[in-house]
């Protein structure tokens, strides 16, 4: 099957999102001084420290309940699986122009069900938290002549984060189903090819939304630290 089209689209998609994130990061001028202190010197450039820091930004708030612990563990496991899946799924495609095969496929297929389970759990645990129930768009409220019950002002990037959450959740369905349905003797060769394309493109979308989500989550967390 010709993968050149998807290879181009995937490479362009990742490049565009990463470029947009970098641009946004520069434009938004994150308050490094407030987070690291003015005398940070070159410490911020320490790669290890940077990685650890970025990772800590993704540590969601810990709650000392069973659900709280579960939620945090599942979230971190989901991120780990996501990274593994993106690397194993897109590396051979983008850099080698080949379909995923061999050990890449083995690792991919191992991480995939774990990721699916994590997304399902997070869907249950976070769906309510991510309801679009605040006054995100005053103009829309005026048009609809509605007065939202919640008077709490949304945080910066909150709407984008919630949209990303629902987008990830929505895209995860075709991603999972296209893979699992192809394992049953239901679809013939053409159907299998269509399923594979659905899997590829929905995965690409899911990945891009997930990257944006993680970036915004980290940025929000950094802003929160800076505000303290």
């Amino acid at each position: 099957m010709d993968v050149s089209m998807f290879r181009t689209v995937a490479a362009a998609g990742f490049a565009a999102v990463i470029a947009a994130i970098l641009l946004h990061f520069i434009v938004s001028k994150p308050k490094f001084d407030d987070v690291f202190g003015k005398d940070r010197g070159l410490r911020i450039l320490d790669p290890l420290r940077l990685v650890v820091f970025l990772k800590t930004l993704l540590f969601i708030e810990q709650k000392w309940s069973l659900v709280g612990v579960l939620r945090k563990l599942v979230f971190l496991l989901a991120i780990l699986c996501f990274v593994v899946l993106v690397i194993t799924g897109f590396t051979p495609m983008i850099f080698l122009g080949k379909s995923i095969t061999g050990w890449w496929l083995m690792i991919h297929a191992t991480a995939a069900p774990v990721f699916a389970a994590c997304v399902a759990i997070l869907a249950v645990l976070w769906a309510d938290k991510n309801r679009l129930d605040k006054s995100y768009c005053p103009l829309l409220n005026r048009i609809l002549d509605r007065n939202p019950k919640s008077t709490v002002a949304p945080e910066k990037h909150e709407l984008k984060l919630r949209i990303c959450f629902w987008a990830i959740l929505t895209m995860s369905l075709p991603v999972i189903l296209s893979a699992v349905v192809s394992m049953f003797p239901i679809f013939g060769t053409h159907g299998q090819e269509v399923l594979l394309q659905i899997h590829r493109y929905s995965t690409l979308l899911l990945s891009l939304f997930a990257i944006i989500y993680l970036y915004l989550a980290a940025l929000t967390e950094m802003n929160r630290i800076a505000a303290k």
Partner: protein, 634 residues
Amino acid sequence: MRNGLLAKSLFLVVVLATGIADGVEAKLGDTPDGSRSNFVHLIPLLAEPVAGKEPDQIHPDSDPVLPFSTKQTCGACHSYDKISDGWHFNAIDPNVNLGRKGQPWIFADPTSATQIPLSYRKWPGTFRPEQIGLTPMAFLQSFGRQMPGGGIGEMVDKSDNPEEVLKSEVTGKLEINCLACHDGNPEMDMGGASGYAIQVILRGNYRWAATASCEFAYVTGSVKGLPNEYDFRAPFTSGDSKLKPPVVAYRKEAFGHNDWAGFDIRREPPKQRCYFCHSNIDVQDGKTEKWFRDEDVHIASGLICADCHRNGLDHNITRGYAVESRDSNNPLTTISSCEGCHLGKNGEKPVAGRFAAPTPKHAGIPPSHFDKLSCTACHSGPWPANETIRTKTARAHALGIAGASKEGEILPHLLYPVFAKGQDGKIGVFKLFWPAYWATMSEGNVTPLAMETVKSATSRVITRTAFSKTGSWPDLKDEDIVKILTALGEKVDAGVKSVYVTGGKLYSLDAGGKLVSADSKMAEPYMWPIAHDIRPAAQSLGVRNCQDCHTTNSPFLFGLVSVDSPLKNLTAKEMVAFEKLPRCYTRAFAFSFVFRPWLKVVAILSSLVIMGVLVLYALKALGFVAKVVVGDEK
């Protein structure tokens, strides 16, 4: 007088009907008129002419009765030279594209523990017959039984052996036997006690072989022992009563008006004609019972071989493999493969469904399989077992010939089904045998020894007591090989080492005279891809589930390929080695299918949960929107 007049009349007819197209003379039968009916071949039989003269017509009451020449009889209306370029006859032409590796001729000799692949085509892994000392006549004596004539059969007068050149005047040439394929009469005799094969291999009657195969002719006698001045056109007289030259007797009722004879010629050869050289049978419990096995599913559904394997006048027949179009200029190659009929994707217009071929659904088979596997991998040969089985083929074991051994164990030992990576990079099904031959080695080059040399050494060691009654390997021990290699060492040049290749190893003597073995490329098995017999779709690999192949003990991946040799205790090799797959990964991947059901369950449950959440909140959102729209938001 009568002969000359009729022959001239015939030639007048042929010349009048002959067309000249593109500067190449086309004969009467070269260009069909398009009728799908069978053309009646009521024709004069023509004999091999005296040099420079026109051929004589044969009459059943002449004395002596001459054998007919296909070159003259059939060649009167069909361009014999053009036909000679066809795949079945052109092996000796070095300019012909080799195409995909095919079944070689296998010279098997249990008395010298030899089975070696021979071919006039330079297929990798084969040797030329002259390398083991086979002259054209010696080659025909071994293999002419299942050759349709032409090619090397017409080269006997160009042998390097002057004695053979003289002898060729007596034997004649083995012309293309058109009847071998195109005779539809059930009495046509290729393998009978006095048929084509016996005439070639036992009696050396090359000139008479095609006549002997004809349903209305019978040939007795042999050219064996006849003097070089023997003239087949003249009555033979000799004081030696043991000499019985070939004598032809035609059934008179086959001749009609003007003594023209009727042939049941079929444009498309009947399957039985093809089977004579292309039969296969599995060996089960040492026997070859054909009622155990079904025929190819295509044949069972009413097709004949020639439906897929087609050619025009040039006899450049389609062999049917997927990438044949790069090797052959036959325009039907692209649509004559499995994909051609069943998928029909390659053509500019739809060609699928030829002969009512069903389009396979391949439900649940990931498309990547079609990049890695040929169609035959899942559909051809027997259902794979834990170990390869022994098989016999017509060309390797002289099937269908009177007097041929029916033993299942007779050499050569062919094994299948072997799943291996082919020349097209895809895994397919192969037949395989392990070459065993005596050779010399110099600077790493292994060259087989002439059988005459080999026999002189082996006959002193491999005695009658060591022979197998079944025609299998002789009882050979390491010390026997040492003795033979020592004896051969005395016959070869100084600095050249004598070696024995068998079971994938190269055996030689070290400085101390001790037998040592080593791996060698020259000892690798000879394999050729097979397509037939095709199993029904309901019996193809993967039809039940993925575990038909993806288990840690599946025959497809981890079945054993026997290592065959006169030496005992050789370890069988796993199929993955032939498939050129990494064993560790392949095993791990196969093992992962244990967890495949869990993966499915987790994925489906996760999907259901996610779907539930999405539907729930979508409904909530819908309810909210409805309230907002009607202004009922509280």
